[in-house]
Symmetry: D5
Subunit: 91 residues, 10 copies
């Protein structure tokens, strides 16, 4: 079951740099693990913004929320989720 | 799997009254069938508006889209879907 | 009398972690008390967001405001209240 | 129980003038009946707009929706309802 | 001359509690003085929000601004003013 | 007492041209009468839009609403009114 | 080069049904041709809406505009284009 | 003096095709005349939309409004004008 | 050449009071100098807000930006500029 | 390939002045290097705002994102990118 997810990152400018770097490193590993297991199907940078559009393939709303809530950057992100369905023109 | 759905109805004022009544009658029957089979769990009128908030319980995004697209009023509605997950404080 | 309530939580990132945890613990207890006495009928997590949609069943606007204002997270939440009425198609 | 209600009137310009006048006459009578029985406590024109702010005093959400849905201009209005509570500074 | 005024209070979370309490006490006294002299005709809490809708009856725009600007909470509020006129259906 | 008023004109494209011209001629005369008697102090075109910003000087909200409601283009305009007060830096 | 495109379809309700059907048939064929040649990489229905999110893979902005402008439903769609870039966490 | 102008075209779908074509032909000639005399410096299509961004170089606000108001598509466009100034980093 | 300018002031609450007062004193002097030389034609307080609407009469966009950028409160203001033109109904 | 880019700068007021100046100096040098090599074709100040509109000429979305992400002010800017195409009326 597919979902389009947009994540906008807003890190407070007074967070210490080493803490930010540590969070980003964990975020990258977390994301790549999910990409490898097939649930985080695609991730693209929005040009000019600290933001991404991603496609997730999960079995349920609860699974998706668990994945997103576990993101190391979750406390610093605004996330918008759009449920997707099969399009009748898709080949 | 639960979804909160808001439907705002906008029927063009120049649609013939009998056509509108026929669509509304089919809409009501369609809605009540889905309520009886448990997939349209709740439906509430938004006070002061020709709109409703509903909760759907379906197995997938595709099933939800099929149900919504089949609404007789679908061509005259603006619909917004919010996927819901289990809340950690829910008892 | 039913109300749909959306609560978006925005905790300032410089609030001490122990204070946040203490507030959250009180929030959970407060919410579960109201769920048990039947006034907080439903609570769902919005997928991907630190937010919930809830349905309250109260006797008056004043009662609802007292409940919401008493939430331990109230100072850190943006709350939107939608009054609901019986829908003519509800079975 | 008090509610602040804003009503914006949007009458399609191709509705026949006599039909519009007849609806407005019924609207006025309907409004004045409710003002006399105390449920439509106040009505003010928004300066420069075909709109009003009103205060309703009703026993329930359902009663308010019945009153609003019965407005002759209901099909041509956009209505926004805000539930009000007692303010702690009110004397 | 009537005005509908909405005030949304946003107190920074790092303002010391005693300072907040002192401001709120002055705010309450200030509001009640104006209610007693008839210029602050009504004040209602918006359910679920740290906000109010109020009706003011003043002789001029300048008088209204002086009253609002003098609110002890003025630096921490977002205020929206809507001028009201007599409604032709008002009895 | 001053008010800033923005008027956006939206004439339906299927209104007959002679009717539009007749309305515009009456609008111009109406506006110029009010400019001459000093109540419509200023009127400026918004560059690139069929819209104007105007400053009105009237004795009350009711007087302003009567003037605006009497505009021949009133049924085809969206109007926004901002009450103005004396600025402490004005010389 | 990837672009995320959202298309919202708004067909006027007074367009003859056969004309609508003919446009939709051409739209489907047009879309499937582009999917087969690899430039229209993905198309998903937005649940509950007459809308889709699509990913296009084209050589230039001009090529993308030509593809979109050629859509048989183009005159009846609102389209929003977001340019995408490689994400540093993508595997 | 430079201005950035965005024009969004919204032609009613029930305007006869020959009338639309005639307007568009005049629009193109009008635009190209102004491009040749240097006042309409640039015009770009917004990808995926019936809209353009343009840069105008004119001597005054009044001149710009005269140019825009004279556009054959003016009655069917929504126009937004942004005044531009010299940027300190421009070479 | 006229411009309507709206300025909304947002001073961070943790700026020292003496610094704020010194900025405001310079702002007032700066504004009054420009009012005296005729370029800042009008300034009005928006009722209930820490904001003003002003009319500027300048020779160019660049001149206007220089004036606005030089405001002592510039770093703490949100400014919106609307270019104005002669209105055909102005007398 | 052309893109219109709007950048709004929001520097936190508690960033030390010397740090801000150092960032701005690097920003200016960075911008002028890109203007000289032809990829940053135009940059204009938005009148009254700490913002600019710019036109970039790049070979790909990825190249544009690299340029924008490298801006010394990138962490303090909100950026919006609009892809542009050849306009059929352009000469």
């Amino acid at each position: 079951m597919l979902f389009l997810v947009r994540m906008d990152v807003r890190i407070p400018h007074d967070l210490p740099a080493e803490q930010v770097n540590e969070i980003k490193a964990r975020e990258k590993a977390y994301s790549q693990d999910l990409q490898r297991d097939g649930r985080w199907k695609s991730i693209w940078r929005v040009v000019g913004e600290y933001a991404n559009y991603s496609v997730f393939d999960v079995a349920s709303n609860d699974e998706l929320h668990q994945l997103l809530q576990g993101l190391p950057l979750f406390p610093y992100m605004q996330i918008a989720v759009t449920p997707l369905a099969q399009h009748p023109s898709a080949i």
